[in-house]
Point group: C2
């Protein structure tokens, strides 16, 4: 896959599970130009099903990059001004070290022999990109959802390496309901006979049905009840009336089926297991003995926390807890709750209030 | 199954799909005694996964009946005073006409040859119980969730046959989000290879994994985010720390797995498909040309609508729409929103404010 830029990390990295990895790949992409002072770099972290192809056309899927609304020339994260780097997380399936990588000894895909990784592991792996680009200090770390968790972990691990920190629609510790939805997805995948205990890469059939069900479940959580009602309601799918069968009568049904079916073409079921596990394990508060403020004691960065009114997966209250923790130790932090009925997905969509807030914060932080 | 009382309906019933059924079974149970005037009968309608065994020990599962908190001697629905009848819905799997019934011609289970049924069909089938017990007018129809939908449909279809009407935690038309969650459950079931297009009754393997995933998905929606956080949070399952594997680390994970595993012992996957379909098809407003009030124009019954603060599946707003529709035509209707963090499941649980409200309304309505 020549379309994927890959950096082989030759230093060893001790994972939270205790295992040490070495000579592993980090796949990345960049947008814009790094200036001479190397002061305009932004590290963007992707969410559960994202990848390094933030903007423009994704060369693998041939679709728009996942954050094309926010990142690009003259966009909120303006690539005429900033040098944007994004890496595929370890555990992912777009070129970084993940369960679809081959074991050097057996030449077979790792599958569930891949180690269980954490958000902390992801961030520590990506830190190597700073050395690769010879960047002393990032202008910003930005990400939504699981990307926001990485933002928080990065700011905590490397307090002197970043000027501004923008966690969006995220949390400092995964809630019981979110663990429940992730577990549901994992159960759907492992219930698929073709999952075959994670060993399916050379088989004709992959656990696509299970992965599609997992995606459908997650997709419902990305949208708000009100947004779904406005967009779909009880509208029927190319038919005048109910058909009294199990085909998709309602538009919401065919929409979900479509979301499931296109997802399996671009994502690996084992990666879904590993990345959701990393999200569930994320508890920055617990890492600092129950005091989230301690995670940021050494930071001099400016923070900007963004939430969305209709996001019920990472509701405003959970985002505010981050603000409170920063406030209590006097860290410079801004916060905005954006009014949107598009649910958790708001951060990926064309929500002008959000994009303007993001743009303004970055612009003001340049000087 | 001698523990199941069954009435064979010898009249023909035209279903909404157009098919006419005849000589089909309705399985039912009763609690308390019908008085001489036959004026103390309450027809209780069960929800998606319920059955006719409302109270006491369910003779099939050996567990408490699904509404034991509410129904029984001296309970809110006091069987010392009232004669409670509950029937398994058609489409169900506890003795009423459903996909696990055998085709008289082939002597094989109907499977997906069972007709797609509606809430209206369920109610019309159960109406036969009034004739069977020679009841001119029910004291009340009561039900939560899908049971509430049946309550509304019954009150609309048979306005002179009931004195009081108590829909609980329900809606007059299934929302896009609720259709989405039901579709997710159906996709999980049909993704299971053992589902075999609904033809599995004589096979060794049933689609239990798919059905368990469907149940897990639904179960999450029955609880509130806050309730889950209070009950489970990030508590670990009989272990001191994370195990860096895919076993259940968190209590919420093992709880969900348990809910899935016990469900498959008592429920039929095809019934799950048919009953969720009936829920999704429910739109009493559409039945009356977009005017819900018209559904109740002929009623003289007293209504009492109950919702719960943390129910996000059938939120208060949707319950209030029923109240507004009744108000606008001057129907006698009471309404209460019960404060509870137990989510949609509140109506099945020991929520004293709810049970007291139910008891008080029934007591006052006796005279």
């Amino acid at each position: 896959m020549g379309k994927i830029k890959t950096l082989i990390i030759q230093k060893s990295l001790k994972l939270d599970c205790g295992k040490i990895i070495k000579d592993f790949p980090i796949a990345y992409e960049t947008y814009g130009k790094l200036n001479k002072k190397k002061s305009n770099a932004i590290l963007v972290f992707h969410a559960l099903t994202g990848d390094q192809f933030v903007s423009g056309i994704n060369p693998i899927t041939k679709k728009d990059g996942w954050w094309s609304f926010a990142v690009g020339p003259n966009k909120a994260i303006d690539t005429n001004k900033f040098f944007v780097i994004c890496a595929n997380v370890i555990g992912g399936c777009m070129g970084s070290y993940g369960p679809n990588c081959k074991d050097a000894n057996t030449n077979e895909a790792l599958g569930i022999n891949f180690p269980v990784i954490t958000i902390n592991d992801m961030v520590n792996a990506q830190y190597n990109l700073l050395e690769f680009f010879d960047i002393e200090k990032l202008f910003s770390v930005i990400g939504g959802s699981m990307g926001g968790m990485q933002v928080l972990q990065f700011a905590s691990n490397f307090p002197n390496k970043v000027k501004t920190v923008i966690p969006i629609a995220c949390t400092s510790n995964h809630s019981a309901q979110n663990i429940a939805f992730n577990e549901l997805g994992r159960q759907a995948i492992t219930a698929d006979n073709y999952w075959n205990n994670g060993d399916y890469y050379t088989n004709t059939n992959h656990p696509n049905k299970g992965l599609a069900v997992a995606r459908m479940a997650a997709h419902i959580t990305y949208l708000s009840k009100k947004g779904l009602q406005k967009k779909f309601g009880r509208k029927l799918q190319q038919r005048d009336d109910l058909k009294f069968g199990f085909d998709a009568d309602f538009q919401i049904e065919s929409y979900l089926r479509y979301q499931g079916s296109v997802f399996v073409d671009r994502f690996d079921a084992n990666s879904y297991l590993y990345i959701t596990r990393a999200m569930d394990y994320f508890d920055l508060t617990k890492q600092f003995d129950g005091n989230l403020s301690k995670a940021f004691l050494n930071t001099k960065a400016k923070f900007f926390v963004i939430s969305f009114t209709s996001d019920w997966l990472y509701p405003t209250q959970e985002n505010k807890e981050i603000v409170f923790a920063l406030n209590s130790i006097g860290v410079d932090v801004g916060f905005v709750e954006i009014d949107s009925d598009k649910g958790h997905d708001s951060f990926l969509l064309d929500v002008p209030d959000f994009l303007n807030a993001l743009r303004n914060f970055l612009e003001k932080s340049i000087n």
